[in-house]
C-alpha cells in the first residue's frame, strides 16, 4: 500500500506542479512549526528598546517591532501556535462532524432531521461572532479558541459527510457488507467513512486555512492569544497602530505569512483528493 501510494502521489504531483508547490509549502511550514524555536536568530519575547521599530535590514530581515523584538523570529515561533490551533480545531470538528454526519446520512429519519435543524440554526449565526461569544464566555485561553473554532466548523463537516454518505447508502457494496456480517455501525465507520474521506480531504485542507484566519482574527480583536506570546493575529493587530507612521513591515510580514499559509492549504486540497482516491490510479 505505502510504496504504491507514494508512487501515485509522485505521479499526481508531477502532473500538477501547483499542488507540488503547495505541498512543499505545507511541508516547510510544518518544519518551521516543529523546529522554529531552535532556529530563530533572536529571542521572540525579550524586548530591546534601543532597537525598536527598525526597518528591514541585514540584521533584522523583517525589521523590529515597537519593543525592539525581531519580527522574523516572532513570525517563525508563531507558526507552531497558529498551526496547532488550526490543526486541533479542524481535527476535532472533522472527527466529530464526520461521524455524526455519516450516521445521519445513513440512518435518515428523525435523527437526521433533528441534527439537520440544529446545523441550520448554528449556520444562521454569523460564525465569527459566534466564536467571539464563545471565547468571551469560556475565557481567553488557547483551549477555548480551539473549542470555539471547532464548534463553528462542525456544521460544515456534518453536512458534507451527511450528503456524501447519503448518496452511497444504497450502493451494492453497502448491502454486500451487511451480507458479509457487518453491523450498521461498522458499515458506516469501516466502509462509508473511508470512501468519503477523499472528498473530505479537500474540505479539511480548505478549512485549515480558514481556521488559521479565524484564530488570528480572534487574537486580532483581543479575544485570543494574549501578548507577548508571538501569534500572527496579534502581530497584525499591534502593527496596525504603526501603519499610519509608515512602519509597514509590522503588518506586512505577518499578513504575508497568513496569506501564504492559507494559500498553501487551499491549493493542497485538490491534490490531496487525487492522491487519496484509489480510482485515480491506473
Amino acid at each position: 500500500m505505502t510504496a504504491a501510494t507514494l508512487r501515485h502521489a509522485g505521479w499526481i504531483l508531477r502532473g500538477n506542479p501547483l499542488t507540488a508547490v503547495a505541498a512543499a509549502g505545507v511541508f516547510l511550514l510544518t518544519l518551521i512549526a516543529i523546529f522554529g524555536p531552535w532556529i530563530v536568530p533572536y529571542d521572540p519575547i525579550v524586548s530591546n528598546v534601543s532597537q525598536a521599530l527598525m526597518p528591514p535590514s541585514a540584521a533584522h530581515i523583517a525589521g523590529t517591532d515597537q519593543l525592539g523584538r525581531d519580527v522574523f523570529s516572532r513570525l517563525i515561533v508563531a507558526a507552531r501556535l497558529d498551526l496547532a490551533i488550526a490543526i486541533s480545531a479542524v481535527g476535532i470538528s472533522f472527527a466529530i462532524g464526520a461521524v455524526i454526519g455519516a450516521i445521519c446520512g445513513y440512518t435518515g429519519g428523525r435523527l437526521d432531521r433533528g441534527v439537520g435543524r440544529f446545523v441550520d440554526v448554528v449556520m444562521a449565526f454569523p460564525l465569527f461572532v459566534l466564536a467571539m461569544a464563545m471565547v468571551a464566555a469560556l475565557g481567553n485561553r488557547v483551549e477555548n479558541i480551539v473549542i470555539a473554532t471547532a464548534i463553528i466548523n462542525l456544521p460544515f463537516y456534518i453536512r458534507f459527510a451527511r450528503a456524501e454518505v447519503n448518496v452511497r447508502r444504497n450502493v451494492g457494496w453497502v448491502e454486500a457488507a451487511r451480507a458479509c456480517g457487518d453491523s450498521h455501525l461498522s458499515v458506516v465507520l469501516r466502509f462509508l467513512l473511508p470512501n468519503v474521506l477523499p472528498a473530505m480531504a479537500v474540505q479539511i485542507s480548505l478549512n485549515l486555512g480558514w481556521a488559521i484566519l479565524n484564530a488570528a482574527g480572534l487574537s486580532f480583536i483581543g479575544l485570543g492569544v494574549k501578548p507577548p506570546t508571538p501569534e500572527w493575529g496579534i502581530m497584525v493587530a499591534e502593527g496596525a497602530r504603526f501603519i499610519s507612521t509608515g512602519k509597514w513591515w509590522l503588518v506586512a510580514f505577518p499578513g504575508l505569512a497568513l496569506m501564504l499559509t492559507v494559500l498553501c492549504f487551499n491549493l493542497l486540497g485538490d491534490g490531496v483528493r487525487d492522491i487519496l482516491d484509489p480510482r485515480m490510479r491506473t
Binding site: 451480507a179 490510479r281 491506473t282
Partner: protein, 555 residues
C-alpha cells in the same frame, strides 16, 4: 440497395487518454440505403456507439476522426463546418439514446421540449410548434397526449420517456435516425412496444435507421441487415438468418452461441469447437431428503409495505429444497428485488414467516441478522458488479471480508490460502487479487462478487440479476460458472432475473411476480413453453428471439 443515404469508408476514430491514444474505431466501412434499418451489434468496447457518435458528430472532446469519410447523401460530412452541420442535426439526422430520462431536461414539460426541437430548425409561431408537438405525441402513441404535453419527465415511465425522445427525434422528419441502445434498461414488454413503434414509424416515414445494440436477438427481429463489430472493426455483415444459421467469423460464432435462446442449455453457450471435451453435465439425481426433513427455505405469506404505500410484496409463499434452483422473474416494480432482500434478511418483512431448515429466521430483525449463525448460510450476489465492490478494497480484501467476519478466520496464511482457493474456484487469476475494483473488467468484478458470496460456503445463494450488467459472452461464462458451483456445493439458488431465457436455463422452477403478487409458478421449461396466465404469455412473447422463423418477419 438503390441509393445510398449514408456511406462510411474506412472510418477511424481515436481518443486521447491518460495512457496515450486509443483507437476506438479502426476502419469501418458500411453503407445504408434510404429507409433501411441496419443493426449494429457488438459488445461493450466494440466501438459501435462511437461509430454512431462519429456520424452525428457528438464525439466528446477527447475523440477525433483521424481517417476515413462519412458521406451523407454524397457529401463528406467529416469536413463541413460546425455551422453547416447544425442544419443536418435534427433536420437530416437525429439520435436517440440509451437512458431517455437522462436525455430529457428534467425541469421542462415534455411538450415544450418537443416544441423546442421543432423551432430549433424551423421558424414558426409557438402555438404552431406546440400543435405539431401534440401531433407527434399522438404519433408515438402516448395516451392522453393533451395531458402529457404538460408532464415533466419524472412523471413519465421509462418507456414513455423513450417515446417522447422518439417524438423529438422525428420532429423534423430526419432521413436518418440513430438509435443507441434505445430499449436497454426497459422491461421486455415495454421494449417490444417501443421497438414495434420505432420500426413502424421508420417504415411509415421511410426513415433510415441504425439500431445500435448489444442484443443480437433484438437486431435480428427488427433489421434486415446486421453488422457485427469487435474491437473497433467490422467483423461480419449479413442477413440475420444467415448470421444465426451460419456465422462465419469466430467472434460472431461466439456471440451467437452465447446469446441464450428459448432452447439453449448452459453447455450450449460456448461454440462447439471451443467446448473441448464435453464435461459430464448430466445431473446426478439429487438424493431425496429423508422424510420429515424440513425444506432448506420456506417462506409463508410474506408481505412488505413501505411507509403508507401499496404493498410492494403481498402474500408471497415459496419453498426451496437443498440444491434446488428457483427463478424469480418479473418486470421492474414487480417486487422481485424486495423479496430477494427480505429472504436475504437485509430488510424486514411487514408480515409473514421465513424458515431456514425449519428454524424461523423471519423474526430476527434485519439489523441484528449479521450476528445470526444463519448469516453465512444465506449469501447474495448483486446485480451490478461495478457498484457491489467497495472501491477502497482490493479483490483480496473483498473475498477475505466475509471470511474474517463470518468465517471466524484471522489474517494470515490460512486466510490467504482460502481466498486464493475461492478465486481459483471462480476462475479469477491469483495475480488479480491485489487489484482495486476499477482495475478489473466487468466479468472479473462479477467473479470477485461470486467468490465473496461463496467464500463461507453458504447453503442458499440469492442471485439478484447477476449478469444483467454483463456482455453476453461474459454472461455465458458467468452462468456456466454459477451452474458448476451449484453442482459442486449442492447450493440452492434463488435466481432473480428479468431475462426469461436465462432463467429457463438456470432454474428448475420459476415464480412469476407481477405487482408484488405471484401470478404463476411451475417447472421452468413447461411453464415457458405453455404459459397458463396471460401475463406470463405476454412476457414470453416479448422476449426477442433469434429463432430463424421469427427473424426479420417485421418489416
Amino acid at each position: 440497395m438503390t441509393s445510398s443515404l449514408l456511406a462510411l469508408s474506412d472510418l477511424h476514430v481515436t481518443f486521447s487518454t491518460r495512457r496515450g491514444l486509443v483507437e476506438a474505431v479502426r476502419g469501418v466501412t458500411l453503407s445504408l440505403g434510404e429507409g433501411e434499418m441496419l443493426g449494429l451489434v457488438g459488445e461493450s468496447g466494440s466501438g459501435k456507439s462511437v461509430t454512431g457518435f462519429a456520424i452525428t458528430r457528438l464525439l466528446d472532446a477527447a475523440g477525433r476522426i483521424t481517417a476515413g469519410q462519412i458521406r451523407f447523401r454524397g457529401q463528406d460530412i467529416t469536413r463541413i463546418s460546425a455551422g453547416d452541420f447544425r442544419h443536418l442535426h435534427g433536420a437530416a439526422m437525429a439520435m436517440i439514446f440509451q437512458n431517455p430520462r437522462a436525455a430529457l431536461n428534467p425541469i421542462r414539460a415534455v411538450g415544450d421540449q418537443i416544441a423546442d426541437a421543432i423551432t430549433a430548425h424551423k421558424r414558426m409561431p409557438r402555438d404552431q410548434a406546440r400543435a405539431q408537438a401534440l401531433e407527434l405525441l399522438r404519433a408515438v402513441q402516448i395516451r392522453d397526449p393533451e395531458k402529457r404535453m404538460a408532464a415533466y419527465p419524472h412523471e413519465l415511465s421509462g418507456g414513455m420517456c423513450q417515446r417522447v425522445m422518439i417524438a423529438m427525434a422525428i420532429s423534423c422528419n430526419p432521413a436518418l435516425l440513430i438509435a443507441d441502445e434505445p430499449t436497454t434498461g426497459l422491461d421486455v414488454t415495454t421494449q417490444k412496444i417501443v421497438m414495434d413503434l420505432l420500426a413502424g414509424i421508420a417504415a411509415e416515414r421511410g426513415m433510415a435507421t441504425i439500431l445500435i445494440t448489444h442484443d443480437l436477438g433484438l437486431a435480428a427481429r427488427y433489421c434486415r441487415r446486421v453488422v457485427v463489430m469487435e474491437q473497433g472493426r467490422l467483423v461480419e455483415e449479413a442477413e440475420p438468418k444467415t448470421l444465426f444459421r451460419a456465422p462465419q467469423h469466430p467472434y460472431t460464432k461466439r456471440l451467437v452461441a452465447a446469446s441464450p435462446t428459448a432452447s439453449s442449455r448452459i453447455a450450449d453457450l460456448v461454440p462447439e469447437e471451443e467446448r473441448g471435451r464435453r464435461i459430464a453435465m448430466r445431473v446426478a439425481p439429487r438424493p431425496q431428503p429423508a422424510p420429515g426433513t424440513p425444506p432448506l427455505l420456506e417462506v409463508q405469506k410474506l408481505a412488505k409495505r413501505f411507509d403508507q404505500g401499496a404493498a410492494a410484496v403481498a402474500d408471497f409463499s415459496m419453498m426451496i429444497s437443498a440444491g434446488e434452483s428457483v427463478g424469480l422473474v418479473g418486470e421492474s416494480g414487480s417486487g422481485k428485488s424486495t423479496t430477494s432482500r427480505i429472504i436475504c434478511r437485509l430488510i424486514d418483512p411487514s408480515e409473514g414467516e421465513i424458515a431456514f431448515e425449519g428454524q424461523s429466521i423471519g423474526h430476527i430483525p434485519a439489523r441484528d441478522f449479521h450476528r445470526s449463525p444463519f448469516r453465512k448460510n444465506i449469501q447474495i450476489v448483486f446485480q451490478d458488479p461495478n457498484d457491489s465492490l467497495n472501491p477502497r478494497y482490493t479483490a483480496f480484501d473483498c473475498i477475505a471480508h466475509p471470511l474474517l467476519r463470518l468465517g471466524g478466520m484471522r489474517p494470515g496464511d490460512a486466510l490467504r490460502q482460502r481466498v486464493e482457493e475461492c478465486a481459483q474456484r471462480v476462475g479469477l487469476g491469483i495475480e488479480l487479487l491485489t487489484r482495486f475494483p476499477h482495475q478489473l473488467s466487468g466479468g472479473q468484478k462479477a467473479r470477485v462478487g461470486i467468490a465473496r458470496a461463496i467464500a463461507c460456503r453458504p447453503r442458499l445463494l440469492v442471485l439478484d440479476e447477476p449478469t444483467a450488467a454483463l456482455d453476453v459472452s461474459v454472461q455465458a461464462v458467468v452462468l456456466q460458472l454459477l451452474d458448476r458451483l451449484r453442482r459442486e456445493d449442492d447450493l440452492a439458488f434463488l435466481f432473480v432475473s428479468h431475462d426469461l431465457n436465462v432463467v429457463r436455463m438456470m432454474c428448475d422452477r420459476t415464480i412469476v411476480l407481477q405487482n408484488g403478487h405471484i401470478v404463476e409458478q411451475g417447472e421452468s421449461r413447461a411453464m415457458f413453453d405453455n404459459p397458463q396466465t396471460a401475463y406470463t404469455r405476454e412476457l414470453v412473447d416479448a422476449v426477442p428471439h433469434i429463432e430463424p422463423r421469427l427473424v426479420a418477419s417485421v418489416g
